[in-house]
Amino acid sequence: MDRDALEFASQLREVARTDQGLKQVGARAEVTVQKLQLARRWTNRAATIATIADFEDDPDFAFASMYQAFQDAADALLCAHGWRPGGDRAHQRTFQLAAAGLFPVDPEAATLLRENERPLRQARREIAYDRTDVVSRRDLLDIFGLAAQVLPALARRACAVIDLDPVPAEFEEWAVPTLVG
């Protein structure tokens, strides 16, 4: 584990003192990898759904799938450190903490995650609980663009934290499918 990861591990312990929802689960390399594989699979599902003519009028479906990829990738980074947010605001905490853990090595991707986590969650909440036709095609294009920058960065960081050497090509060279307007 590098110095940035050790520093972040220390920060997570501090946060856990006041955040009862942040649970220590023990660093588990194999679970981290599984979560990253899940994230990768969700991005592929999202890309497939987004390009199927039958779902052309339902961008919510692809959006929700891509949201799940964000959730799993962010979860993987925290899992690599041995922590998992739960309870109220679990998704929010997962994204915010993952962004904090990513920041020292990839500030650009971390900032993108931090700045966009709320509209991500808000749209997903509306899709899951409130109504249909929540997101536009424009939103879908944006979430794919965001995913292309953030998800591989989270994957590379999670692999580094669990000292995975060599990093599997599926994560080292992860190219999130591109969606065109």
């Binding site: 700045e115 966009n116 509209p119 991500l120 409130d130 109504r131 036709d133 536009s136 939103d139 944006d142």
Partner: protein
């Protein structure tokens, strides 16, 4: 609340606009546009402002121009009060200024803030008609959100989508478009009507 305090909505809106640009002079036509009031209503509000010593009037050429009287002994207090009353709309409007069509064609507040039933802890619901994505919109509004200390929930849809969904009877859009709206950009009259639905 503003109406109850000031006896009209135009007067405090006028003062709010003038306070937001204390070094600038406005023609009455400019004020009509930014305040969103009729000529008569604005004229009465300007008369009240001048009588109260809060607005200065000067003749330049053939027209009168108006400016906030920042030397008034109550200017500071009035500005603070207006900021509290009109802060959200003003801050959001400023945040969106600079985005024009096709990204932002029109924008308005809906929900509790538009019904004037919000408090300082209420979320602010913003609806934008345009090609902007909700991510780009959230970034645009982030500064206003920090300034206001209130959560801003913003959604954006292209006009064609809004019209189609209204025509299809979309429940959310019908509720938004038939309810009170506080315009941030654009004119209320230019919005798609909720009644395009098969009523």
């Amino acid at each position: 609340m503003a109406s109850a305090l000031f006896g009209s909505t135009t007067f405090p809106r006028l003062l709010s606009q003038l306070c937001a640009a204390p070094n600038r002079v406005f023609t009455s036509a400019e004020l009509e546009s930014v305040v969103g009031a009729s000529h008569d209503s604005l004229y009465r509000a300007l008369q009240r402002g001048v009588a109260a010593g809060l607005v200065s009037r000067e003749r330049i050429g053939k027209q009168h121009v108006y400016q906030i009287e920042s030397d008034s002994p109550i200017f500071g207090e009035i500005k603070t009060l207006l900021s509290k009353l009109f802060g959200p709309a003003d801050a959001l409007r400023r945040a969106l200024t600079g985005e024009g069509p096709p990204e932002v064609v029109a924008a308005f507040l809906f929900g509790s803030a538009a019904r004037a039933q919000d408090n300082l802890a209420s979320d602010l619901d913003v609806f934008v008609i345009g090609e902007i994505s909700r991510f780009a919109l959230a970034r645009r509004l982030a500064e206003a959100e920090r300034e206001l200390g209130r959560e801003v929930n913003a959604v954006a849809y292209p006009r064609r989508d809004v019209e189609r969904r209204l025509a299809e009877g979309d429940g959310f859009l019908r509720e938004v478009f038939s309810g009170p709206k506080l315009m941030l950009l654009g004119e209320d009259a230019d919005l798609p009507a909720a009644s395009v639905v098969g009523d």
